[in-house]
């Protein structure tokens, strides 16, 4: 009785509710669906229904886990290639976002204090229109006689891109690795810039003076002090770009082409073209596991950083 009262008191506390509600939400709308997907991936299909994984029949408790889908994924190299290709595009996008985002965030953090809110606003401005519309817009810009397309041809950038093997032919930019990566970099750049800016703006500028005082040129001070100290921002930004990029579906669908296999599209095909839900679920589960690895690394780093700050 006492225990029950204590439990009720604990639940009634405001803090519990504030922390608990989002977790309940995640439990109901992420954890449960994921478990259902996991279950489907190991279920046998009997006609149009999934057999129960756990069944009790004639006093026999049977656990039937069908692993053939997982085995199939390792055997058919389409999946392997698709995962690899997803990771590759996500990685390229992350690196490009970092290369573009870091200098951007750096100069934003070092800009006049009165100017910074406006610059920050500009970074977030794209979020004011629908993501889908913005990606669609690129289609128009990159097709033949689109503005960007014409500009790239005028600047003879298409020769360069063709030589790099990221467009199918001179003057054709759409449905290529180029258009895919362009779309992903464009979409995810703010997610790189914001954590980097947050990190760089907090940096103690006297450390740069100390570096300069000890004989470091501005360039050396940047590499030896600014970059190592912004490691947390780099990792956070990279995770925010890399993880959603792996599972990205809309951008490959709209801007990608036959060359650009990505796991999001394979998933869609398995679910809705092949109607093979167990297979589709298997692909999804493996993708989540794939994302867990960088997440775990990120978490470990965060924990370390917390420790250091104490």
């Amino acid at each position: 009785m006492n225990r029950l009262r204590a439990l009720l008191a604990w639940i009634a506390r405001g803090r519990t509710a504030v922390i608990g509600l989002p977790y309940l939400w995640l439990l109901a709308f992420f954890m449960l669906p994921f478990l259902i997907v996991l279950k489907i991936s190991v279920s046998e299909v009997d006609g149009v229904v999934f057999k129960e994984v756990l069944s009790l029949k004639d006093g026999v408790l049977a656990l039937s886990i069908k692993l053939s889908n997982y085995v199939f994924i390792t055997e058919d190299d389409l999946y392997f290639k698709t995962y690899l290709s997803s990771i590759k595009y996500a990685a390229v996008t992350t690196v490009l976002c970092l290369a573009i985002g870091y200098p951007f965030a750096y100069f934003m953090a070092r800009a006049k204090a009165s100017l910074q809110p406006a610059l920050l606003m500009l970074v977030m401005l794209p979020f004011w229109t629908s993501f889908l519309l913005r990606v669609y817009a690129w289609k128009g810009l990159l097709t033949e006689h689109g503005w960007v397309s014409d500009l790239l041809i005028a600047l003879r950038v298409d020769h360069l891109l063709l030589a790099a093997g990221v467009i199918p032919a001179l003057g054709k930019f759409m449905n290529s690795p180029f258009s895919l990566v362009l779309g992903m970099v464009y979409t995810y750049l703010p997610f790189m810039i914001l954590p980097l800016y947050g990190n760089l703006a907090k940096m103690d500028l006297r450390l740069l003076e100390a570096a300069s005082d000890l004989g470091a040129t501005p360039w050396v001070a940047f590499w030896k002090v600014t970059v190592p100290l912004s490691k947390a921002g780099i990792i956070a930004g990279s995770m925010l770009v890399f993880i959603p990029c792996i599972g990205e579906f809309v951008i490959p669908e709209l801007l990608g082409g036959p060359q650009t296999l990505m796991i999001g599209r394979v998933l869609w095909d398995e679910f809705f073209s092949n109607n093979d839900w167990p297979m589709a679920s298997t692909v999804a589960v493996v993708m989540v596991l794939l994302i867990l690895v960088p997440l775990a690394i990120f978490n470990r780093y965060q924990a370390q950083a917390q420790e250091q700050r104490k």
């Binding site: 100390a210 005082d213 000890l214 490691k231």
Partner: protein
């Protein structure tokens, strides 16, 4: 007779104007000799930190020249100057260990690895931090961080060491211990040192000479005792330590003495000043130079040239080793008097409301004309 060689560090008529009214550093000239510890002392906003930052090269003077060893510093970029600074609250690199922090400057010189190791080990030994070499700054106490900062700024063997509020981040007890230790290390290394502080005790204990700054100007330069005992202006007298300032007029001025007429007291001062009778002057007497007694001073004392004043003890603050009395004079003005508590039990103790006599020698006052 040969001309004296130019000072090691010459600050020649330096001005720093950030724009917007007040001039941060206003025509400052200083000469600092090799091997001395020189303190810039003043309250916040007096321009001392700006002056230090100009020496370090973080700011460029609007006008004037800074010469180190006869060489103009204006044309050398910060990272090439033979000057190192210990920053206020240290600015240690949080991502590097103690060892790497100290080695940072040496690496930038492109020194050979074995030389670096040798130098860093020597520095760690100097500041007694050998055991903590592998720690990160956040794992150290304030005092340890301060020593790492010192080792880092000394590692390159600079010709000039700059200290920005070197003990400001430490608590009082630790500060007192560290003052002496810091001076010992600086003297062991033999480096010329310019420090900035707002703490007069710190400046007095550490520095061989002090420059008092206010509103961008240097008011007085001298050894701690000179500044304390012979302040040049009313501001300096009031800024350093405690003081009784009494305004009066010059009544009599001779070669060997002068008389100053204040409201309650006629001051006989044991030296002459250059002035005309009737000019307004201020007499400064330090509280510890005044004796307080329940009895009137004897004729002997008066014959020996003591000044005196009678009043009532209005307030007293007991500090343990000494007590500060506030004596109210007939006009209502207060005289601060500090007495050492040399005995544990005193029979005729002065307390609130006691009538008492203050007397002080003719040599203990300073007459200030500005």
């Amino acid at each position: 007779m040969s001309a004296t060689p130019p000072a090691f560090l010459q600050i020649k008529d330096v001005v720093k104007d950030f724009g917007g009214g007040a001039v941060a550093v206003n025509h400052v000239s200083l000469e600092i000799t090799k091997g001395e510890i020189f303190a810039l002392l003043g309250s916040s906003g007096c321009g001392k930190t700006t002056l230090l930052r100009m020496l370090a090269g973080f700011e460029t003077p609007t006008a004037g020249q800074i010469l180190l060893n006869g060489q103009d510093l204006a044309n050398i970029p910060t990272y090439d100057k033979p000057i190192n600074m210990m920053f206020q609250s240290y600015a240690l690199f949080p991502h590097l260990t103690v060892w790497e922090n100290i080695a940072f400057g040496l690496r930038r010189e492109g020194m050979a690895q074995d030389k670096i190791t040798e130098r860093v080990e020597a520095m760690l030994k100097l500041v007694q931090l050998g055991k903590l070499a592998k720690r990160k700054p956040h794992q150290l106490s304030g005092g340890q961080q301060q020593r790492v900062a010192l080792a880092r700024s000394l590692a390159k063997r600079p010709q000039l060491l700059l200290l920005d509020e070197p003990l400001g981040a430490l608590d009082k007890k630790l500060r007192e211990e560290t003052q002496i230790e810091l001076v010992n290390i600086i003297e062991e290394v033999g480096v010329t040192c310019v420090m900035v502080t707002h703490d007069q005790e710190e400046a007095m204990t550490m520095a061989s000479r002090i420059a008092i700054m206010s509103e961008g100007k240097v008011l007085q330069v001298g050894a701690p005792a000179d500044i304390y005992e012979t302040p040049a202006t009313r501001f300096v007298a009031d800024f350093i330590g405690n003081v009784n300032l009494m305004d009066g007029t010059l009544a009599e001025d001779e070669a060997d003495h002068c008389v100053i007429d204040c409201q309650d007291i006629k001051h006989y001062v044991g030296h002459g000043i250059t002035g005309t009778a009737g000019m307004p002057v201020t007499v400064a007497v330090r509280p510890e130079k005044i004796h307080l007694s329940p009895h009137a001073p004897s004729d002997e004392d008066l014959a020996a040239g003591f000044n005196r004043a009678k009043g009532v003890v209005k307030n007293l603050s007991y500090f343990g080793s000494f007590t500060v009395y506030h004596l109210e004079l007939p006009s209502g003005r207060m005289l601060k008097i500090s007495q050492n508590n040399t005995q544990r039990h005193r029979e005729h103790e002065l307390t609130w409301g006691s009538e008492a006599w203050a007397h002080w020698s003719r040599q203990s006052q300073v007459v200030l004309t500005q």
